[in-house]
Amino acid sequence: MSFDVAAVRRQFPILSQIIDGQPVHYLDNGASAQTPDAVLDAVRTYETTGRANVLRGVHRLAERATEAYENARIEVADFLSVAPMEIVFTGGCTAAINLVAYSYGSLLKPGDRIIVSELEHHSNIVPWQLLRQRSGIELDVVPVTVNGRIDLNALPRLLTPRTKLISLAHVSNVTGTLLDVHAVVTLAKTVGAKVMLDGAQRAPHGPLDLAAMGIDFYAFAGHKAYGPNGIGVLWAKSELLEAMPPFLGGGSMIGRVTFAETTWAPPPRRFEAGTPPIGPAIGLGAACKWMRTLDWNSAHAHEMGLVERLMDGLQKIDGATLFGPASTQNRYPVVSFLLDGVHPHDVAQTLDSFGVAVRAGHHCCQPLMDRFDLDGTTRVSIAPYNDNTDIDALLTGVQHAARTLR
C-alpha cells in the first residue's frame, strides 16, 4: 500500500492544530470534512485578485470571476464524468434535493409515487413529504436489513406504473453501506422510474462515472467533499434539465422578463437564480481537482484498513457493538457503534476529552433509529488524511468511557 498519509495530512492546516495540548483526531468527516490548502488558496485567489459578479460584467475582474466559476463547473463535471452543462450549482446537497422535489416534483400528478428507503437522511425524506403535501404524490419506503443495508429484495413489490422516482442514499451516512446501483437501475427501468442518488457520503471518496451508472439525478455537498460551505451540486441528465421548470426566480435564470410573461434561460442557468455562490463553487472545483490528485485505489484501501483497525479494536471493548455490517465489503469508511449502558452523546463527549471528534445521535436519520429502537449511535467517519493514531486515540477513549460511565 503506497498511500502516503503524512503527505496528505500536511495539506490540511487544521490537522496540525494543538487544542488544549492535544492534537486533533478528526473523525467526523461525514458531518463536514476538512479542507486542503489547494481549496483555501483557490478561494483566496478569487477573493483577492478576481472577485466580481459573474456572467454579465465586461471588465477584467468579472471576466476572471466568470472564467473561474465556469472552470469550477468543468472540474466538477470531470470528477463525475459528465457534461459541464449538466452541472447545477446549488447551496448544498439538501438544496439540490429540494430543487428536484420542487422542479421535477411539479411535473408529477396526484397518485404518482416516489420510493425512498428507511435509512435515508432527513434531507432525502422531508423534501418528498413537503411535495406530498403540495401535490398529493405518495411515498413508499424500502425497509433496511438487520445489517443496515437497503433491502433491495423488498423493492420489486413497491414498484408500480405510477412509480416516477426512486431516491436513495448512494452510501449510508450511518452504516457506510454502499447501494447496489446496478440492481436499482435495472428494477427502475421495468416501470420507467427515474433514479436519484444522494451522494453526500460517496462523493468525498473519489471520482465517479455517473454517465455509466444509468441514473438520472445525483446530489452532493461541497463541505463534505473537502470544499467550502454553501455549495452543493445537482447533476441531472440534460434532457431532464431541459424539461424541468425553474425553481427559484431571479437574475440570470431568465430569457426575457416582462410583467405579463417571463421566459427562462436554458439549463444550467435556469436553475441558478441570482448571484451564485461564486467563491464556494471555485473552492469546490479546487476540491474536485484535489481529489483527483489522489490514487483512490490506495486511498480507499487505506481508509478501509482504518475501518478494520477500528472494528477489531471495538470488538475487544466490553459492551461495544457495531451497528451495521461487520465487514468492509461494499461499504465506505463510516462506522456506527453502540456502547452498552452509555449514551452515544456521553461516548462522544468523552472522546472529545481525548481530542477525538466524532458525531453522536440520530445523524438526521430518525426513521432508521426508530426502526432499531435506538436513541442514536456514535459514528466514526474517516477521510484519507486519517491515520492509525486517530483510530487508536478513539479506541482509548471508548475504553475509558466503558470503564467510567457504566
Binding site: Q349, S353, M369, D375, H400, L405
Partner: protein, 135 residues
Amino acid sequence: MNDQLYQDRIVSLAKAKTGAGKLASPTKSARRDNPLCGDRVIIDVKLDDGGKISEIGHQVRGCLLCQASASALASVAVGRNAAGIEKVRLDAERAIGREEGEAGEPFSAFAPVKAHKSRHECVLLPFEALKDALS
C-alpha cells in the same frame, strides 16, 4: 485526556437514579424532547391539594447529564410547588453559568457543564418537562 465533564458527582447522581420510573396514578405528566440530540424526558407528579409535589417519577431516554439532572431534581422536588421548582431551576442555571450567583446543592455538581454549551439543554430538559407537568 482533558476529562473535566464527567466528574464523580455527576456520574453518581446519574447512577443513583433517584425517582426513576413511572408513577402508578400521577396527577399530571408531561413529556419533553430535544430534537437536536434526541433526548426525551417524561415526568409524572402527584400533587397535594396545595399544588405541592408529593411524589415524582421520571423516565429519561437520554444522556448521563440528563439522567443526573433528573435524579438531582427528583431528590429535591417533593414538597415544592411550581414556584419552588423555579427556585431549584435557578440553581441548575447558576451551575451551568446561565445565571449569576452560586448554585445550591446538589446542582453545584453540574459546574463542569458550564464550558460545554452544546450540553446545557441536557441539564435543563427535565426542568422543562416538570414545568409543563406543573402548568
